[in-house]
Amino acid sequence: MKLTVGPVAYYWPRAEMNAFYRDIADSEVDRVYLGETVCSKRSELNAADYLTLAQEFREAGKEVVLSTLTLLEAPGELKALRRFCEQREFLVEANDMAAVQFLSEQRLPFVVGSAINCYNPSTFVQLVNLGMVGWNIPVELSRDWLAALLADPVARAKRKETWVEVLGFGYLPLAYSARCFTARSVDRSKDDCRLVCLNYPGGRKVRSQDGSEVFTLNGIQTQSGQRYNLINDLAGMHGLVDAIRLCPEPDQTLNWITAFHDALNASPSETQYRRLPETDVNGYWHKLEGMRHVNE
């Protein structure tokens, strides 16, 4: 099982991005996803910076995938996506069908991100035939759903052509909108956001009127209010899942990488289980609502 680090979903200052990636270079992670996936106005690192980072990671022995914008509306965003898809050095993660279109028409292999709706064997096989070599499953899928999909004879025949990756740690990307909710939270419009996301390195917490965490605002993206964490569910992934993705957080990401690495490499007697922090959730994987916490 490989450990991967997803793209930074938040907007961090350049110096912090670079510091974070220096730490990742020394970590136990096997594969790193780099790039802006949420908002095209976020430019502390530009495309060239990400390519430089990608080369450095490759030299450090890590696999690299360039990840791309999820909600593409403006022609300029599509152009930028096309440029990313036309470089031949690194694998690209498609988070919108436009990227699948650009990559498949050039017959380039690609990774499919979780915001692409692949829910069944037919779609899975079509994507493999178009060039999918890595699949990050939709966040709302359960272990049972994934197992049933991959057990289908149609999918089984293509299973070896792609890796299967599951988001195992971090705030879940749950929705994308035209509206920027972080700008709205400070009474600004998206056009006049003045890059307010820089002030919220972990997004903004939304609580219900009786105080429970409901969502996390991250620009045009709405994330889960609770952190998703499958550290206790790794044993059930053997033979089904090839890679576990951790999403970067402002702090503690490195500690969690080590925790997942240790959990994956522990002897069966040690894996019994670690305590899932009370506030973390894992419902989706257990075929429940995402916000449930199952500690079996």
């Binding site: 709706n117 057990a151 929705a175 419009s189 609502e289």
Partner: protein
């Protein structure tokens, strides 16, 4: 420009036809479409009647099969597609690559429209679905501004359809899992958002609370209008401020944009609301028929009539309407 109206039942379908819809869209019973409500949608016999009624009136019938196929249940969605075509549907509205592939192969003569649930917001994506499955129309998500719609319309090789009126989804459709995060049921997998089975109202005399699967969505003071607890329209707290964090309870109304949509060659305007009553469908259809006829007659002199606005406002969520993302400032 075509007026496409919703029907969750045969009376609603008749109301749409009688009031001037060019086409009507329906769904089959079960979870193959994104409006799975108790008592709503058509069975096979009703679908045949629907096809007969629409064709008799010289209109078209679209059938939405726009949820995503579950593993091990391909046959259910396949049956929905086959039933729809055999019953006489003119158009299938599909979102899942699995169904697009199946329908384009099994029923090459049937027109395929890309559902809003497929989240096609740009030319690259539109090109993908045209090339792979030959879709002849794309329904745009409600996340684009008018300027972006214009830019797409001028370059798209596939005719476009936009949402004109009704409930406002503020997230890119087909990419929103907020409902399954809270209830386990999402539009993609269950055809439901914030399903009624999870809603609880608690009235302690002073304050009325709405909850969705235990999560407090809103509290209403006496005299305040209490809306259905759709989770993206709740009032929540962000560091001490309490407000509609994502969106107010409001409906989309683009009447004032109609001349512009017409000029850009938008092929169809779609009215949301298969879950609505026949009376609702009748009133909304009547207003939009008059408006479209007025635009076609003379787009220069088109003005939104006060009576249209008041009828539509009266039918809208919270009696408020918005241009939504079409208006740049909304974003």
């Amino acid at each position: 420009m075509e007026l496409l109206c919703p029907a969750g039942s045969l009376p609603a379908l008749k109301a749409a036809i009688d009031n001037g819809a060019d086409a009507v869209y329906v769904g089959l019973k079960g979870d193959t479409n994104a409006r799975r409500f108790a008592g709503l949608n058509l069975d096979y016999t009703q679908l045949k009647t629907a096809a007969h009624l629409t064709h008799q009136a010289g209109r078209k019938l679209h059938v939405a099969i726009n949820t995503f196929v579950h593993p091990e249940r391909f046959a259910d969605w396949q049956a929905a597609v086959d039933d729809a075509v055999e019953a006489g549907a003119d158009v299938l509205i599909l979102a899942d690559m699995a169904m697009l592939e199946y329908a384009s192969r099994a029923w090459p003569e049937t027109e395929l429209h890309l559902s809003v649930q497929a989240s096609a917001t740009n030319l690259g994506t539109i090109e993908f679905y045209r090339k792979q499955y030959g879709v002849s129309r794309v329904v745009l998500p409600r996340v684009l501004s008018m300027a972006q719609v214009r830019a797409l319309a001028s370059k798209s090789t596939v005719p476009l359809e936009v949402f004109a009126f009704g409930s406002l989804c503020i997230m890119a459709e087909g990419r929103c899992y907020l409902s399954s995060y809270m209830t386990g049921e999402s539009p993609n997998t269950s055809g439901a958002c914030s399903p009624a089975a999870y809603v609880r109202w608690n009235d302690d005399g002073d304050v009325l609370e709405s909850r969705l699967n235990g999560v407090l969505i809103d509290r209403f003071q006496p005299g305040e209008r209490a809306g259905y607890p759709t989770l993206c329209k709740g009032r929540f707290d962000v560091e001490g401020s309490r407000y509609h964090v994502l969106e107010e309870p409001t409906s989309l109304n683009t009447l004032s944009l109609l001349p512009e949509l017409y000029r850009e060659g938008i092929r169809a305007v779609k009215i949301e609301g298969r879950q609505r009553s026949a009376a609702y469908v009748a009133e909304v259809t009547r207003v939009w028929r008059q408006a479209i006829d007025a635009v076609i007659a003379n787009e220069q002199s088109f003005g939104v009539k006060a009576e249209w606005d008041s009828t539509l406002a009266h039918l809208s969520e919270g009696q408020q309407t918005t241009l939504g993302a079409y208006h740049r400032k909304w974003n």
